[in-house]
């Protein structure tokens, strides 16, 4: 798939245009679950890395939730010293192959890049991904900072982005970490939520393997709250506990027909497709039925993941219904573009009002209403308002609702004294991740509400640091 460098590599405009990245062609990729974005070649990575101005007061670092020294790792790329580049990233981020793929860099590091003034920012995410991929493919071994084991046991609950980060950071500091995961495999949303075509599971596996190599004990199939309570963990000798159990049950649309067969929550749909590999049915035994026409409700990344998975399962038509306009969609722009290229039809400014089924209780159609946006309110957001009498019916076989999730309730319900918001989010100190119970910390979606992979990692980093400070003061 090697492609010649584009015009942007000529010296006069290296400041204005970034090096394009190869992707699978839309008509090809809608027929497979392989990764869409293919990554830079070495030649491309070197060209892109050479665009970095190595600012003295680099703004990009301020935009990175985990504070990676970006100009430094990019400098190592220009020197082809990939071992030093990956070591520099891993000082701050244990999951670079993942972040390079799914971080919203355009809202973070790249947004602050000085080159924005002239044209495209440096493609920091693509470079991070390149370095991480080189490390994995060439099996570069970076020397571990020799941590002296301090024999203090820490329990980390939930092996998603937050938990993996806490586990890695504390293992590097010498703690004896056990990582409890309720599902049969580690990765959390990285394995059950984000599809293979955006984040191959072999990459998540490699990152989890790295964390295991740091000395973290992995314990899957352990639903904390049920198998062991928080109290049980303290009795087992854990000195501190981090809760990173993530988003839980789907929010309901609260419209008639929600329990018809063929109505999925995005969570169920994606768990079936990703975690259970239903896209390889019947080799993998978990079924998924999409029929000929699918409608996805929602405008976030989860909605796009569901829509793009549905089209890959061979359905003829996928609609995306979102109650606001395209500019208001919370999804990443790059993924919106990918979805459009793949033929997803956006029905903007619409909201479902009723799901219609047949005598067998199976979905046949959806009724929706057209919305108009109000003038911006005090918060600047434009509110969608239904236009009376605009109800329309659309024939569909499957409805996937991707309108958000509520926090998983199990630990909150089984732990006395753990304070939560009315919505069930665990209340923490934002800087330390401390909960209302001594030695219990929380981070990621369970403590922030639904957010991104990198913000979960950020809260994990802060919690790991405060757990370290807390335990350092204990004998």
């Amino acid at each position: 798939m090697s492609k010649p460098l584009n015009k942007s590599q000529s010296s006069q405009n290296r400041f204005t245009a970034s090096v394009d990245i190869q992707k699978q062609e839309p008509h090809v990729r809608v027929k497979n679950f392989k990764e869409v974005v293919l990554g830079y070649t070495e030649e491309q990575a070197l060209a892109e890395a050479s665009r970095c101005l190595h600012c003295l007061h680099a703004q990009c670092i301020k935009g990175c939730p985990v504070g990676i020294n970006i100009p430094e790792f990019i400098k190592y790329i220009t020197q082809k010293n990939y071992k030093a580049a990956i070591a520099k990233i891993k000082e701050k981020n244990s999951l670079p192959a993942i972040c390079g793929r799914v971080c919203p860099q355009e809202e973070q590091c790249q947004k602050l890049c000085i080159l924005n003034k002239k044209g495209d920012p440096v493609s920091i995410g693509r470079l991070e991904r390149y370095v991480a991929d080189v490390e994995r493919e060439k099996d570069i071994k970076i020397p571990q900072t020799a941590a002296v084991s301090n024999a203090k046991k820490v329990a980390v609950i939930g092996a998603g982005p937050a938990g993996l980060t806490v586990a890695a950071d504390l293992a590097k500091l010498g703690y004896s970490v056990e990582l409890f995961e309720a599902l049969h495999t580690e990765g959390g949303v990285l394995v059950y939520g984000i599809p293979e075509f955006r984040l191959p599971k072999s990459i998540v596996k490699a990152e989890v393997d790295y964390i295991e190599k740091l000395g973290v004990k992995l314990t899957p199939n352990a639903l904390i709250g049920r198998l062991f309570t928080i109290d049980d963990l303290f009795k087992k000798g854990f000195k501190a506990i981090f809760i990173g159990t993530g988003a839980g049950l789907p929010k309901l649309m609260k419209i008639p027909g929600e329990n018809l067969n063929g109505v999925y929550s995005a969570n169920e749909f994606l768990i079936r497709v990703n975690l259970m590999k239903a896209y390889m049915f019947p080799k993998y035994k978990t079924p998924i039925g999409v029929g000929k026409k699918v409608v996805v409700i929602g405008g976030g990344n989860v909605a796009l993941d569901a829509a793009r998975s549905a089209i890959r399962l061979g359905t003829e038509k996928v609609y995306l219904m979102y109650r606001r306009g395209k500019d208001e969609m919370p999804a990443r722009e790059e993924e919106i573009l990918n979805a459009q290229e793949e033929g997803i039809e956006f029905k903007l400014l619409t909201a479902p009002t009723k799901i219609i089924g047949n005598e067998h209780g199976r979905v046949t159609a959806i009724e929706y209403i057209t919305m108009a946006l109000s003038e911006p309110d005090t918060s600047g957001r434009r509110k969608p308002i239904p236009i009376a009498g605009s109800e329309t019916t659309l024939d569909v076989d499957t409805v996937i609702s991707a309108i958000g999730r509520t926090p998983n309730p199990i630990i909150q319900n089984t732990t006395k004294g753990l304070e939560t918001t009315a919505g069930g989010i665990i209340i923490v100190d934002k800087e330390t991740g401390k909960t209302s119970i001594d030695a219990v910390y929380a981070g990621g979606d369970i403590a922030t509400g639904e957010a991104t992979v990198i913000s979960a990692m950020e809260s994990g980093k802060k919690a790991a640091q405060s757990i370290h400070e807390y335990l350092s003061q204990k004998p």
């Binding site: 198998l227 049950l249 590999k277 049915f281 039925g289 199990i410």
Partner: protein, 290 residues
């Protein structure tokens, strides 16, 4: 609950005992010490037999804290239960998670009727045992196809004050259904404080209707389709009193007079066609191995 076997050398989720109960029902005793130490009556577990298998729920039918084992009893009717039933003693289940769901509410109610259809008795047994230990008068109604299809008879007798039988063909007890036995008890002015109905959705729906006119508290364990079983996917949603609930975290037990059983039955048929395809695929794989 006593035992004296040492399984500590085994890997987690190894099958330590297997018993064919009848032509299509199997009992498995599985090594899972942490689970065995924690489970309470009325809870369930999720099993994933192999790497390529589905996750599916089963109710605990027993456990042994000393041996560190749990017991499940299931009918081999769908692809996943057939696949699980093929495991031999010494082989391992790939993944097993539990205990899941809320335990049954065990109190001294007075007189409890356990209305069990078919293999529902396997799920009922630990609940009956806990209710008996709590001081209840436990009347168990057992329904099955014929006299040879009853399982766990000895066990259930030990934890019941009275056991009554009914069969589809009249070969043991009266001819009829569990709901008929329950109606008979009520007609005979038996003082009933609570009824647990455990069986197929259809059986539970019909049986619950018997107690409704008399306002006898009736509890059903709702066995909906589940994937993770721990409050994520929402596949298990059921309608209780017009509200959507999740069987895995809000249940599995609900007031059966408020449950929408018709919807539950409809939802349980969601993957019937795919199931046939998976079974067919399994058969062709075996042919290739011959």
């Amino acid at each position: 609950m006593s035992g004296n076997k040492d399984f500590t050398h085994l890997d987690l989720y190894t099958i330590v005992q297997k018993e064919k109960m009848d032509s299509s029902s199997t009992k498995l005793v599985i090594y899972a010490p942490d689970v065995a130490a924690k489970v309470k009556a009325g809870q369930f577990l999720i099993i994933k037999t192999h790497e390529t298998s589905e996750r599916f729920p089963l109710t605990f039918s027993d456990w042994n804290t000393q041996d560190g084992t749990i017991t499940v009893l299931f009918r081999e009717v769908g692809f996943s239960t057939i696949e699980l039933g093929q495991l031999k003693v010494g082989e391992k289940i790939q993944a097993l998670v539990g205990p899941l769901g809320n335990p049954s509410e065990i109190h001294n109610y007075g007189t409890v009727v356990m209305a069990c259809g078919g293999l529902g008795v396997a799920a009922a047994y630990p609940i009956s045992r806990a209710l008996k230990e709590a001081g209840n008068n436990v009347i168990t109604l057992l329904g099955a196809k014929n006299k040879d299809s009853f399982v766990l008879e000895k066990e259930i007798q030990k934890v019941s004050t009275k056991v009554m039988y009914v069969t589809d063909d009249g070969s043991k007890g009266k001819k009829g259904f569990v709901s008929d036995l329950l109606r008979e008890l009520i007609d005979n002015k038996e003082q009933i404080d609570i009824v647990f109905v455990i069986g197929t959705p259809a059986m539970m729906m019909v049986t619950s209707e018997v107690t409704r006119p008399f306002s006898i508290k009736t509890v059903a364990s709702l066995t909906s389709i589940m994937v993770d079983g721990m409050g994520m996917c929402g596949a298990c949603r059921v309608t209780i009193d017009g509200q959507i609930k999740f069987a895995c975290v809000d249940g599995p037990e609900f007031d059966s007079h408020k449950a929408d059983f018709k919807e539950l039955m409809q939802r349980s048929k969601c993957y019937r066609d795919e199931e046939k395809q998976a079974i067919h695929e399994g058969e062709s794989c075996q042919c290739q191995n011959l």
